[in-house]
Subunit: 269 residues, 2 copies
């Protein structure tokens, strides 16, 4: 049985609840996160993930993908909330009467959930602070066929609205794990796995380096880079050409350039 | 002769002026833009670009790089404004008493200023809407030794605070040009230059494709990609592996993966 209801008051507790999910503390407490936009929600549906609640404006324009989504949520026994464009704008922070939002259940992000043998490439981010970078890494992971993204130390929240948006749906296809460095390192060394980082320390050229599956491609914090001890714990340190005055790339860019190089090398017979 | 003055009132016209530079319309009218942070301003100085005005908090902690910057601005006859942490926070939008901001003169972004023979790689962005992506492309351009970034059609403003920040100083080293597609295309065809785009249409694998200098690497709008006619006007269309469910990468990531591939190929004898 699905529920369908209409909310017309700004002070409705459900409006407050939905708004609260923009905040990490509330997401964690509720175990829920928001994803916005028909495209993202359709991506989720196509990956087999439905929102438990769908929020949309009354009198919105019809759209075949929206109808499909509504039907799927109803069939799954989810809740559909219709509201005014004003209230929807308050929830999503966007002045778009076509806006649509879904509430999803956060998934388990413990390391133990990962099957390292299920993919040849894994992305690892250490203290990545920008949710856009984090979402972009998820998107890159999907593109290179990575198994997932492992978040080390104090990273941005993968369930934030910005990270979910930047992932372009990859939050619904890529595994995500969160761990302290020590725990990750212990887990990694308990099985097969090559840890690789872009580094300036004792590094070899990234092109054609001896990558091995499962290859864990690690990037560091946006301003500090990786701690030296983390780099030294890597099996392989590689360096990309830097022809300008800067000595680093954007973290998500560095991860992608490296991941594509790994992909090409592992594909070779 | 340099000027040094102290501002203590929120309603001071200079405070309003500085705040107004966060807005594109005002930047264009004044021909000025803001860059924030000691690191960015030091990057600018090291590239030979000084702010005409430096704004910082009274009673800030001393820092050798800040002293050098102050001295350089003074010697160049620039203006130094000291203000309260509160006012500085209002100007920069950041609650950081160590904040520092500089006002710079916008530079000419006409195509005619570019010397295509000065570099083997150029980046081209079409209708790129995200200033963070734009800044990231500037940063990547610096790293691959590109000549600059050419902005086609209606792109985000390269002089916005967000783009300048994401460029990590590359706004001061990379050339930037802005042009309509037709004008860019006419300019390009009036000389040597290979136009390359990541595409799904009639494309060959990006690895080892026959890149030629000067190579113009073009990426399209974040949600629409490149218009088909623009892709068809390219000399070379290439495709990157997409192993997941998505068929595209983040625009700045796609540009970087492609630019590094071009760099490697052009470097080969």
């Amino acid at each position: 049985m699905s529920m369908r209801r209409t909310i017309t008051g700004f002070s409705n507790p459900t409006v407050k609840y939905l708004r609260s999910l923009r905040d990490k503390k509330h997401r964690r407490r509720e175990g829920r996160f928001l994803a916005e936009g028909l495209r993202l929600l359709t991506d989720a549906r196509e990956c087999g993930t439905l929102p438990e609640t769908l929020v949309m404006a009354e009198n919105r324009d019809p759209h075949p993908l929206l109808s499909e989504l509504e039907r799927a949520v109803e069939q799954a026994g989810g809740e559909i909330i219709e509201t005014t464009p004003d209230i929807l704008a308050k929830i999503t922070g966007k002045d778009n009467p076509q806006a649509i939002a879904g509430i999803f259940t956060e998934f388990d992000t413990s390391l133990d959930r990962l099957d390292r043998d299920s993919a040849a490439i894994w992305l690892v981010a250490q203290a990545l602070r920008d949710p856009g970078n984090l979402g972009t890494m998820l998107r890159t992971g999907d593109a290179v066929g990575a198994g997932g993204l492992i978040l080390i130390d104090d990273c941005a929240d993968p369930f934030s609205v910005e990270a979910v948006r930047a992932s372009m749906g990859a939050i619904f296809t890529q595994s995500v794990a969160q761990a302290k460095w020590e725990d990750f390192h212990t887990w990694l060394r308990a099985g097969k796995g090559q840890l690789v980082a872009a580094s300036l320390r004792d590094a070899r050229p990234y092109r054609g380096a001896p990558y091995q599956a499962p290859c864990f491609v690690m990037v560091g914090n946006e301003s500090q880079g990786l701690p030296e001890s983390y780099e030294m714990a890597c099996d392989l340190r590689v360096t990309m050409p830097m022809r300008g005055r800067a000595d680093s790339l954007n973290a998500a860019v560095a991860g992608a350039v490296l991941a594509y190089e790994v992909l090409d090398n592992l594909d070779k017979p």
